[in-house]
């Protein structure tokens, strides 16, 4: 019973990780940049979500606004911050990204205060019973939402011209370009979609915790990096698997190792052990 509860918990956590990590993987696959500042778009989505919901009371509008704002900010970030750095060695973009992330966190703190914001009337707090398990409505919504969105994206990627163009660009940018694919359009699109997903995840985390804080992005940011490394850097199915695995490892680890290590330490201990055994990640093909 306890076992099932843990698995259910890790599924919820894993869905959120997956939504955040997917954007990172897209960026890494395309540009080979570790996009730490991705998590600031997640935080942005959460803030926009709380503000919109408190103003309008419509969940659909809230999700739309959060995804739109995060998505467009992601594109802006790419154009202003990353594009000029593509020719530099990778650590330059990484450090720039960390700087951007820290600055963004501080902006949230200065603009909305260190203690954060919460919903005046939190949506989807009802309880749902599935078999013997209790869920919040919001938890069910996260899992279904994540599964639906990721499913649709997977379908788009393999069945539409745009999706195939993205895949081609990831596997060989120069070749793709010579076949008439505009690299920058594909990059913009990837940032738009990946950042919108982060915004979507941000809203759900805000709903689940009934709180948005300036620092809410930091732990997911580092966890998401761990996930894309575990997933084999730039591989979409690998990332999804890794997100679920990390959710499981954390839930079970906290129960059995909680006395020695805290939750984050367990996640990173797992990451380090995996990398030492399989430097290419858990789910990489090579």
């Amino acid at each position: 019973m306890f076992f099932l509860e843990l698995i259910a918990q890790s599924l919820v956590q894993g869905s959120i990780y997956a939504l955040i990590a997917l954007g990172l993987t897209l960026v890494y696959g395309l540009l080979r940049i570790l996009h730490v500042a991705h998590a600031s778009l997640f935080t942005l989505g959460a803030y926009v979500g709380v503000l919109t919901y408190n103003a309008t009371g419509s969940l659909a509008l809230t999700l739309l606004a959060a995804m739109l704002v995060s998505g467009l900010s992601g594109v802006a970030m790419f154009r202003l911050a990353y594009k000029p750095l593509l020719k530099q060695p990778p650590h330059v973009a990484l450090i720039a990204s960390i700087g951007l992330f820290i600055a963004a966190e501080e902006c949230f703190r200065i603009a909305f205060g260190a203690s954060g914001l919460s919903f005046t009337n939190t949506p989807l707090q009802g309880q749902v019973r599935i078999g013997s398990l209790q869920f919040k409505e919001a938890e069910i919504a996260v899992m279904l939402g994540a599964a639906l969105i990721l499913g649709v994206l997977a379908w788009l990627q393999s069945h539409t011209r745009v999706g195939i163009a993205c895949q081609a660009t990831v596997s060989d940018p120069q070749m793709a370009e010579s076949f008439g694919i505009t690299l920058n359009t594909v990059r913009d699109l990837n940032f738009l979609v990946g950042s919108a997903l982060a915004g979507f995840a941000g809203v759900w985390v805000a709903v689940l915790n009934n709180l948005v804080e300036p620092t809410m992005g930091s732990v997911p940011s580092y966890k998401a990096l761990a996930i894309i490394v575990l997933g084999g850097m730039g591989s979409v199915p690998g990332t999804l698997m890794a997100a679920l695995v990390l959710g499981l490892v954390e839930s079970f680890g906290t129960v059995y190792l909680g006395k020695v290590l805290d939750r984050n330490a367990i996640a990173f201990a797992f990451l380090i052990v995996v990398l030492m055994v399989r430097p290419q990640g858990l789910f990489a093909k090579k």
């Binding site: 990484l94 450090i95 700087g99």
Partner: protein, 282 residues
Amino acid sequence: MDYEISLLTTIGISIMFALSLNLITGFCGQISLGHAAFLGVGAYTSAMLTKAGLPFLLTIPASMALAGILGIIVGMASLRVRADFLAITTMGVVFLFIGLVRQQEWLGGEMGLSGFPDSGLGKTGFMLLTLLLAALTAAISLYIQKAWIGRVFSGIAEDEDTMRVLGIDVPSYKLAAFAIGTALAGAAGALYASHLKFIGPDSFSFVESITVLSMVVVGGIGSVVWVAIAAAVLSALPGWFQFIGDYKLLVYGGLLFVMMRFSPHGLAGMVKALSSKKGGAQ
């Protein structure tokens, strides 16, 4: 006068800490996002040993040894994974360190350690010791840079595979860089603990790792003099401008980004570019 002494001590510790990371990331090209963990190892070692009755000066070598040994272990990761993967692995090291310390009652857990004995040198004496050690670290760095080992380091930073082809034992040199750099960070940690009289898990968080990295990057990766200058300025800034205190992280974050965006080689690169422009005009 007390304030100036304390400020100079802080600056000295920052210079040591930044130069120690510069050895690993600057000279040898191994990016580390986990350097604060070694400052922490040094600080905890020294604090625990002084608590057990050892005189402070003797705890410095002990801190260096323990930090250096753990540094070699983490350095082994750099033999398995490179560049981006190494950055993430070393980031994991910080979280592992904090998570571990947090759950250990005997290390003070969440509350941290305080009330360990003084260095016994007095404020001025302690400042002189710190500045001396900082100068020593700079001297060692400059020596390494000129020596054979430094040339190998920069070769590894430049192109690891070519160095292997040349028959150079790359793994040993990488481990040497990690050992020296982390041992020096351990010494800085011992000074840090004794200077602040309080250490806790959050004193050595990921943000600290980024702060020290920003000193190295703003100075100009690999340049001893400019890294030392950047470390001195960045650690003194919040004290000089009280208004910056609350915005310290915003300034750090912004500086990191602006520096990378417009001058990826830091202050050293800027100065070089300026002087070569002047040279070109003449």
